[in-house]
């Protein structure tokens, strides 16, 4: 019998550690401790969990650590089930398929100062970035970690606190920090990032509204809800490789239409932030609603989970 295609990186749960209240830190390794596919600082991976769940988590170890993927997961009882599956079902020794790492941070020698703002468990991507910047000896970077009281992942933060790279803000004692004041003035050679709850991100986006776009980066916990478009119209998707055509109802997502038709597209966040469902488009006028593609990429690709069409017919490279 022919084996099914291998579509994920095979990993084994090597360790599960306590990362603070409601948080577990999972270390994933290759079964033979082989090197894992490399990743950039701040990159994320999809975990393919029992029950068909696919969930995205930031890697929080140094990319120089080539044999481990470390993720920190907060149990969200009201979430979509991924964190509960990890907390309640996964044990050391379990096999988990993961995607190739995506996204992350490209080192830029023109950046002289980095400043990051993280809310709660949103500190995870900056653990990876800070470990990288520390290792390469970058002289000026700061992570502002904001939490109500007890800081999550204190065990992972400790080395960076010792290096005075992390400033802790406990809102129960000092109130919410002024994000604009933490960031300082926009200056050439300064880059900023934020990962946290939506309110914090909105504050961050207001504070950096005048900054050059390529100097600002935002990571979201969950995809923002798309506004319902009262003027949404139906359109047709044409699949260039099979020649099939399928209708997309007014207000229906392109992804849902493809899935109804039996077209399997890898997905994860379903909100235009993770990059899993990138598909090429060939003709028509797509409406891009993602938060991940660059203007250049949008000339060739779209994210089927959130994209729409401003033309009656859109041809996809599927």
């Amino acid at each position: 019998m022919t084996a099914p295609p291998i579509t994920t990186v095979k990993t084994v749960v090597d360790a599960i550690e306590h990362g603070g209240p409601g948080i577990k830190v999972f270390t994933l390794v290759d079964p033979d401790r082989w090197e894992l596919p490399p990743f950039k600082p701040g990159a994320h991976i999809d975990l393919h969990l029992p029950g068909g769940l696919v969930r995205t988590y930031s890697l929080c170890n140094d990319p120089g650590d080539g044999t481990r993927y470390v993720i920190a997961v907060k149990r969200e009882a009201g979430g979509r089930g991924g964190s509960m599956a990890l907390h309640d079902k996964i044990v050391t020794g379990d096999v988990i398929g993961v995607s190739l790492p995506r996204g992350g941070f490209d080192a830029d020698e023109n950046i002289r100062r980095y400043v990051f703002v993280a809310g709660g468990i949103g500190v995870t991507p900056y653990l990876s970035i800070a470990a990288y910047l520390s290792r390469i000896g970058h002289p000026d970077f700061t992570v502002h970690a904001v939490a109500r009281d007890r800081m999550p992942l204190e065990c992972l933060l400790a080395p960076l606190i010792e290096q005075e790279r992390i400033v802790l803000h406990r809102t129960s004692k000092t109130g919410r920090p002024d994000i604009g004041a933490l960031l300082g003035q926009a200056a050439s050679g300064t880059a900023a990032g934020c990962c946290g709850p939506e309110g914090m991100i909105l504050d961050f986006e207001r504070a950096t509204a005048d900054w050059p776009g390529d100097r600002v980066h935002v990571e979201r916990f969950v995809a923002p809800r798309l506004a319902v478009d009262p003027g949404a119209r139906p359109y047709t998707i044409a699949l260039a490789r099979s020649g099939a055509e399928l209708p997309v109802r007014a207000g229906q997502s392109m992804l849902a239409a493809l899935q109804e038709f039996g077209i399997a597209v890898p997905t994860s966040c379903c909100g235009g932030i993770c990059g899993a469902c990138k598909v090429g488009w060939l003709e028509g006028r797509p409406v891009h609603r993602d938060r991940v593609l660059s203007p250049y990429e949008r000339q060739r690709y779209l994210m089927v989970c959130v994209a729409g069409a401003d033309s009656g017919r859109l041809v996809l490279d599927l």
Binding site: W34, E35, P37, P38
Partner: protein, 173 residues
């Protein structure tokens, strides 16, 4: 029209006009994982390379769901890596093309259906390798088009043995 060489391969004088060398050896145990550079590999006749994902019976490669008896070991020309840099300005390392053996001075595209020696092992070339998007996905480098018609060679192992970096590659005369 030309479905076989014009000259009889058994008597063509150019048959042994080349001698090449093994420059790099790489294996990996599973799909997606980085290839690891090793000084020697052990080829098992009729099976594959010890520890590699495409060893027959192991079946842990990205294309293992498409079994191929003639894909026991794969080769790639060092000259192609030089050409990629020269012509397409793409730096691709010998660990990135995901073939097992990087050779220099061996006209791989001429060897389909021929037998040749890789160190002490005897191989039979079964077909040209073809480029794949999988390598683009892993490397993030747009190498699909530049590798068309020069993506290496698939071979079956007729006589096994240990192959070392620096070994001679020669025709089976």
């Amino acid at each position: 029209m030309l479905d076989r060489p014009v000259a009889d391969p058994a008597t063509a004088p150019a048959k042994s006009a080349w001698t090449g060398f093994v420059r790099f050896l790489h294996i990996t145990p599973r799909a997606f994982l980085p290839m690891r550079s090793v000084p020697t590999v052990t080829l098992m006749a009729g099976k594959g390379i010890e520890g590699d994902r495409y060893m027959i019976g192991r079946e842990e490669g990205f294309y293992s769901h498409k079994p191929e008896e003639g894909r026991q070991v794969t080769l790639f020309e060092l000259e192609t890596l030089v050409a990629l840099k020269r012509d397409a300005r793409i730096e691709l390392g010998p660990a990135e093309h995901r073939r097992n053996v990087t050779v220099e001075g061996v006209p791989l595209n001429h060897l389909v259906d021929r037998r040749f020696w890789l160190g002490e092992t005897l191989l039979e070339a079964t077909r040209l390798s073809i480029p794949c998007r999988h390598i683009e996905e892993i490397t993030g480098k747009a190498i699909f088009d530049p590798l068309i018609n020069r993506s290496g060679l698939n071979c079956r192992i007729l006589k096994g043995g240990v192959v070392k970096v620096g070994d001679v590659v020669r025709n089976d005369t």
